[in-house]
């Protein structure tokens, strides 16, 4: 805050032409278009003011930016700060002493700027040193720092497209058997043979939750099977919107099965939004009517075990599906079949057998395999680097194996998962290095 106050003061002083002679300005200033950005960043580097070497002599630096308009007479770069020419310019930022770089993130793409830097004390400012070149921030189409993400994304997309096309052409897309979904017909069949109803509980969250949506997908299949077997399907809901969606879904399923006459919307009803009120309602229904098949598909919290235990006690075949990790053990222990996390979301593709959905599912699996592979490799390299390094407190030089393992670990962290791209770039954190990297020329 103090630096900002000083900068404002300096600005006022500068525009009035006041420039104290006892603070030396930065030596040279260079402004460069920042790489791999969307065209809004400019990197500014400078050589420090001689006063910077004296502790407490300056508080820091302020950075000025001037938008260069056509016809301002800037055919050549001014060498000195001209208060008349840059009237109205305000510092765009400040840094404390010792720092010699600044990234301006508020530039506009394809707009030319002139930057300047001045050293400031608490109430004084040096003259402004102007950048040697004008700079125009430009957007780069490819962020080279994230080139690995591009490669991984293209790989996964390519695999996904390949599988979709493969499936469309009639090729085999093997999806492992999901017991919980295979058991739908078995559960509904049991209810039919026993002359009892099928109960479907679509979770306690609203329709905007992805688990509820996945549950409704399974409901469609359960409803279709119920229609084909002429079994009674009952769907109590905890949200009004879920009830509406469930009604639409079940009606469509009955229609698809050629049994629109068997559809009864009164069997899909709303109980209450209140968690345990809903649970008590469903539990009472189960104890009274003893459904032979119970499906729990959606988001569940503490009510999961209450419902599943009640269903188990009445001898129903129970199939559960949720992505709630904390509730899965309860469902697994109390239900006949449980769809775990991803299985639940894969239900739509699995049940429909639609080539596009199956291909997409397979492609996503390949993505997960790549992620798992990187995870395993990363863990392995980090472990090897850890165990092969010198002991803590030891002065021994690390061996070549440790160095190579550490380099590989760093590469994964910084290049594949970080922002370094293919190769580790040199740090452009000083004026001299920038000069060296750019060959002395500005990136305009």
């Amino acid at each position: 805050m103090r630096i900002q106050a000083a900068a404002l003061l300096a600005c006022v002083l500068s525009v009035t032409g006041y420039a104290p002679a006892d603070i030396a300005p930065p030596g040279k200033v260079k402004a460069l278009n920042a790489p791999d950005d969307k065209g809004n960043q400019v990197e500014v580097y400078w050589t420090p003011s001689p006063n910077d070497a004296v502790p407490g002599a300056i508080q820091g630096y302020v950075i000025y930016r001037h938008k260069v308009e056509t016809g301002e007479g800037l055919e050549s770069i001014p060498t000195e700060w001209d208060p008349d020419l840059f009237a109205g310019s305000e510092p765009i930022g400040d840094v404390p002493y010792g720092v010699t770089e600044f990234v301006d993130e508020n530039g506009e793409p394809d707009t030319t700027y002139l930057y300047g830097v001045a050293a400031v004390t608490e109430n004084e400012q040096s003259s402004v040193t102007l950048a040697s070149d004008l700079v125009t921030p430009r957007m780069e189409w490819i962020n080279k720092g994230k080139i690995w993400f591009l490669i991984i994304m293209l790989t996964i997309s390519g695999v996904l497209i390949w599988f979709v096309r493969h499936a469309k052409k009639g090729g085999e897309v093997k999806v492992r058997k999901i017991a919980g979904l295979e058991a739908v017909s078995e559960a509904v069949g049991r209810a039919t043979e026993m002359g009892r109803e099928v109960l479907f509980v679509p979770g306690i969250l609203d329709i905007n939750d992805i688990q509820t949506v996945a549950g409704i997908t399974v409901l469609s299949n359960v409803a279709r099977t119920s229609a084909e077997y002429d079994a009674q399907l009952e769907v109590p809901t905890a949200r009004s919107l879920v009830m509406t969606t469930a009604r639409e879904t079940v009606q469509a399923a009955y229609l698809g099965a050629g049994r629109p006459d068997a559809y009864d919307e009164n069997r899909i009803y709303y109980l209450t939004d209140e968690q345990f009120g809903y649970t008590a309602g469903v539990q009472g229904k189960m104890v009274r009517d003893k459904p032979a098949a119970c499906f729990y598909m959606g988001a569940f919290y503490a009510e999961s075990l209450i419902l599943a235990e009640t269903g188990n006690s009445i001898g129903a075949i129970q199939v559960a599906g949720t992505a709630m990790p904390s509730q899965l053990p309860f469902f697994v222990a109390a239900c006949d079949y449980t769809l775990i996390g991803e299985e639940f979301f894969a239900a739509s593709a699995y049940l429909s057998g639609d080539p596009e959905q199956l291909g997409s599912l397979k492609g996503q699996d390949v993505g997960k395999v790549i992620a798992t592979f990187l995870l395993v490799i990363g863990c392995l390299l980090a472990t090897l680097a850890g165990v092969s390094g010198p002991e803590k407190g030891s002065d021994a030089e690390p061996g070549a194996f440790h160095t190579s393992m550490q380099d590989a670990t760093d590469y994964i962290k910084q290049n594949i998962l970080g922002k370094e791209g293919f190769m580790v770039e040199a740090d452009r954190g000083s004026f001299e290095e920038t000069e060296a990297n750019t060959g002395g020329g500005g990136d305009q």
Partner: protein
């Protein structure tokens, strides 16, 4: 139930048994010799159920007379009846018979859910030895009018109606009855004969079902529910009732059977039902798992007993003559030809297949034709066994009890109970297997088609004696088991097959017995001599990942029986994979043929 006099099994010393097939009536004589029961003589004669004879007993008397002449024992009296009881020189203590004449027992079954009560009804019908013509279920995908039309088109001997657990659905069961009643299916035999309906469903729907069939034209018989709860099957009462109706209605309508039933000392059984009974008896007495197969011209029957659970399937379109075209179509010609070690002209083969279909009694005239026919047999057996595995399952609709440990290993109901690793005895019958020129060919056909794993005994029923023994098992199980073991089966040998991760060219397992030892590599087979009647203790050390019965990589030490073929060591792995490329496939097959001495020149000429 037919009333038969109860005989003391210990007093039964001479047993006469016949099997009245569609074309041949086969008779065998079993006698108590040297402290044990042995099959001593056999005879056969054409079946005389059709016109102009129209009396099945004529064929029976002819075949029995042949046996009598061979045995020097008078079995048929001057009145034309079989003489009972036995004396020192004539007659028999008991006469028993099976029958498959006139197409056997044909049934239609119905249940509420195809995979539950309808499947149980089908198991009951097949187990009783019938051919199931169709299964009607609420979820079979057909509209009611299509179901009614189908029932009208069928002419079953009887209908088995099931559905609902006790106290379960009534509506659906009555709906099924209401499909059958107006369809008024007509029986195959006898226009004055009322269609027998066996109701074995929900006990609370019995009244409603009776009401539906009360209008006449049906003979409704009510038995206990075959699925009182979904967790348990109770097929016994339904099977018994099927046998009773088979005798009282179906057999009574067939020419001469009323007379034959008066001669027998035990109820006449449908032939496949009797085969099932003997296999169950043997499996129970010896404590083993058994698979039996009977490959005929039109159908292939597969029987299995795993952990005392019996299953039978009839693959109606898989056979070696009338159904040979269907085998080639279903298996596809490339799959058939992969078993043939040389190039064959496909057009010529198709002609051969069609000729076999229209002239079913022809036999192969050349070695090439024999190889091709055995290739077709392999595929027919493979497909029939596949169907059997799909049918022989655990019950569906059963509540599962889980623990958290089951999180990633949830198994569904309806998994097959057929486990080749647990299979102890594989029995073959049927022309192509029983009458193969060399027993080695029979053994290889069984191994290639059934892919037994671990240690499995191979045998064949060369004269198809199992039906006779099936009926005998109902009156004298000990005699049936003794004859089955000593005379019915011809032991081919023991198959020692590796399952699991077998790598081609790498050692699959090492073995040793009777001073012999060696190694079997992946993809290879070997044949070691162990004569019939001898036993040996084999020690097998499989490599890691290969299973011979004790688990992957674990040593196995077991007693094995010898046979006419010997011990077949199979390192090909399971499932059996043949090279895709034709030349490589031919070379592989030729290698296996050579290893097992399947075809040798002398035998090939003998086959001509």
């Amino acid at each position: 139930m037919t009333d038969t006099p109860t005989l003391d099994p210990d007093k039964i010393k001479v047993i006469l048994a016949t099997d009245c097939g569609s074309t041949t009536t086969k008779a065998i004589l079993i006698q108590y010799v040297d402290g044990g029961y042995r099959q001593t003589h056999r005879g056969e004669a054409p079946t005389t159920v059709e016109k102009p004879f129209a009396d099945v007993t004529m064929g029976v008397v002819n075949s029995v007379t042949e046996i009598g002449e061979l045995a020097g024992r008078k079995l048929v009296g001057d009145d034309g009846r079989i003489i009972t009881p036995a004396t020192d020189t004539e007659g028999c203590d008991i006469y028993i018979s099976t029958s498959s004449a006139g197409g056997g027992l044909q049934m239609m079954v119905a249940g509420v859910i195809a995979e539950m009560t309808a499947a149980s009804a089908k198991r009951a019908a097949l187990g009783a030895g019938s051919i199931v013509m169709d299964v009607i279920a609420a979820n079979d995908g057909r509209r009611p009018h299509e179901q009614i039309q189908r029932i009208r088109d069928l002419r079953p001997d009887m209908i088995l109606l099931s559905g609902g657990t006790d106290g379960g659905t009534t509506d659906k069961v009555v709906q099924l009855a209401e499909l059958i009643a107006p369809a008024k299916p007509q029986p195959r035999f006898g226009s004055d004969y009322e269609m027998p309906i066996i109701y074995a469903g929900n006990n609370q729907a019995q009244g409603s079902v009776s009401e539906v069939f009360s209008e006449g034209g049906f003979d409704l018989q009510i038995v206990d529910n075959l699925r009182p709860v979904l967790e348990r099957e109770n097929l016994g009462p339904a099977r018994d009732k099927i046998h009773d109706i088979f005798l009282e209605h179906v057999m009574a309508q067939a020419p001469g059977y009323d007379k034959l039933m008066g001669w027998t000392g035990a109820p006449i059984m449908p032939t496949p039902g009797a085969v099932g009974d003997i296999l169950q008896t043997v499996a129970r007495i010896q404590g083993i798992n058994v698979v039996g197969v009977d490959i005929g011209g039109a159908t292939t029957d597969v029987f299995s007993v795993f952990d005392e659970t019996f299953n039978r399937t009839v693959s109606a379109n898989l056979g070696m003559s009338y159904s040979i075209s269907n085998v080639c179509a279903e298996a596809t010609m490339p799959n058939v030809l992969r078993w043939v070690p040389f190039d064959m002209d496909e057009r010529e083969l198709r002609n051969h297949v069609k000729n076999k279909m229209i002239r079913p009694t022809t036999i192969p005239q050349t070695r090439e034709a024999l190889m091709f026919e055995q290739a077709v047999a392999r595929e027919a057996l493979r497909l029939a066994y596949k169907q059997h595995k799909e049918f022989a399952t655990t019950l569906k609709g059963v509540q599962q009890q889980r623990t958290v440990g089951d999180t990633f290993t949830q198994e569904t109901g309806g998994e097959t109970i057929v486990n080749n690793m647990k299979l102890d005895l594989l029995v073959a019958s049927g022309g192509v297997l029983s009458h193969a020129p060399r027993m080695h060919q029979t053994a290889m056909l069984l191994i290639d088609a059934f892919e037994p794993e671990g240690i499995t005994m191979l045998a064949k029923d060369s004269i198809f004696m199992m039906p006779h023994l099936g009926v005998l098992a109902s009156v004298h199980p000990k005699a049936a088991e003794e004859v089955f073991d000593r005379d019915c089966l011809i032991y081919l040998g023991t198959c020692v097959a590796a399952a699991g991760n077998v790598k081609a060219g790498k050692t699959a397992f090492s073995w040793s017995f009777n001073g012999h030892s060696g190694e079997i590599k992946g993809g290879e087979m070997d044949l070691i001599d162990l004569p019939l009647g001898e036993t040996a203790t084999i020690t097998i050390n499989p490599v890691r990942g290969v299973d011979l019965g004790a688990g992957p990589g674990k040593k196995v030490e077991r007693e094995i029986k010898g046979g006419t073929v010997g011990v077949i060591l199979d390192g090909r792995g399971r499932p059996l994979a043949l090279p895709e490329e034709r030349t490589a496939c031919q070379a592989t097959i030729q290698g296996w043929i050579d290893s097992c001495d399947m075809y040798v020149e002398e035998e090939a000429t003998a086959a001509v």
